[in-house]
Amino acid sequence: MSTAAPPQKAAPHRERTGGRLSNGAFALLLTAPGLALFATIIIYPLVSALFTGFFKQDLRLPGREFVGLDNFTYWLDGDFLTILKQTLVFTVGATIVPFVVGFALALALNSGLKGSGFLRGLFLFPWVIPGVVVSFLWMWIFNANYGVLNGILMKAGIIEESVSWLGQPGTAMLAVIVTKTWASFPWMMVMLLAGLQTVPKELHEAASMDGAGSIRRFFAVTWPQVRGVASIVLLLEFIWNFQHFDTIYVLTGGGPAGATETFATAVYQTAFKGFDIGRATALGGLWMLLLLVLVAVYLRITERKGDAR
């Protein structure tokens, strides 16, 4: 958790003499370079994206034509619900599964195992390496012809012939979620472990003296203490997954037959393969609307916790 500032802080330079600017003006001046960058590379492009959704515009050509809501109805009458559903399947799957795995590992590492510091470092590897490397590795594991997963499952007699994990609609989404889980659970583990370490040991000892079993202790002692961290971790991961691109794009490109198409891949493909940036930004606008709700919830929660002060 970031170090929270003390509740109310007197401006340190209020009594300054000599400076010609007031403190407020000085503080704003400090933010100026950052704000200028922000305005040009984030705010302006995003705002202009919201407008582009109302035009017919080709990425490669100058000029555009106002078409009203055409681009929006194109999606709403078409693939919007399918894409929304698939985005949600991916997002929920790639949030819940790593959370469970990461939490289980955090609990295990927190129970006083020897070498848990070393293990924590080791387990971070899947999270720190570049997303494309994660994709390459799992692409190779899932490979239909020479992949190690098929090899092991066949030796164990679980499958009889090779499965094209990424090549068929039935398994592609599952494979993508497994891949993303591998890359995300270490982060969940570290965050939850940090939360668990704030739980006073005495509480556990007292509870177990009173005869509470380990499951009872988990719900009565541990969970109330880590609930805050858990909700932030879940929400952040949900927001990130809702707009996740790399893993899906490299593994499947949204295929096969659109089975792993999410907002991120659909917007990208429409803009950079179909060159139709009117339609791409229209879908992006709908997407952002949904994201804004999530971000608002996130800001509220961090606000309440005092982190965003």
């Binding site: 330079h13 129970s111 293990l119 899947p126 720190v128 390496i129 659970f185 005869g211 490299v250």
Partner: protein
Amino acid sequence: MTTTTSTPLSGTDRLRTSAPPARHARRRRMRKDLLRSRIVAWTAVLVIGAFGMLPVYWLLATALSSPEQTFQFPPKLIPTDITFSNFTALAENDQLITYLVNSLIVASITAVLSVVVATYMGYSFSKFRYRGRRSLMHLVLASQMFPQALLLVTLYAVFSSFGLLNTYTALVLSFTTFTMPLCVWMLKGIFDTIPDALLEAASIDGASRWRTLHSIVAPLAAPGMIAAGLFAFVRGWNDFIFAVTLADKEKQTLPPGLVSTYIGEFQTAWPELMAASLVVSVPVVVAFMFLQRYLVGGMTAGSVKS
């Protein structure tokens, strides 16, 4: 601490031997409970460890195998003839060297730019109170949650109209969209830990506000600034979506470079790709060894990973 508590504890232990049988039963149960939770803990570590580490093993094993060996089915789980030829092949590939150099340049410039800009902004957020501050902070926090794929569409158009496509500038600026918010939040957290009294003392001694920031605060915050820079470097190094879209072969970085080199071929050269993947991962892993201490702070402050 343990030595002081051990004496009274062993005293109670002695008492316990003469305690009623219910106490005995409870102690025994607690011990059994502890043993059981140990077993559960180790099982969890082993199962999750297998899921987490076997792919890493496979990455290494494939990188050290000959191409012929990887085109066998079922695959050999333990490679028999180990070779480093996949790594030497990378060093001889000029295009990959270009990607590597691009990655180093772009990620470094991004890190420096982000830290410099974020230092002023983070300091302003941390040490001053003024109207609009909270809204600005929320804006920075929320900005990293906007969808990159959408931002990219119009960013592409903007860069295109300024003739900036396929330049380092475009890559640095686009990476800054996600590294700057991260650095601002990390550095704000670091400035929060510097006591206000220090700034007041500097001010009483007659140091100007600029001087206070540059000669007193910045040196104190230097480790944090380096950590923020490393985080930014790693994020830039790992980026795929911006680099693959905004630059071509000459200016592209390693992640999209590897995709265009290896993926989509008729038969992917898996051992070479795995070797290349290891090489790309090395700087990141090294950076994180230094970042251990800042890990949790950096992770939330910046909402590091997308």
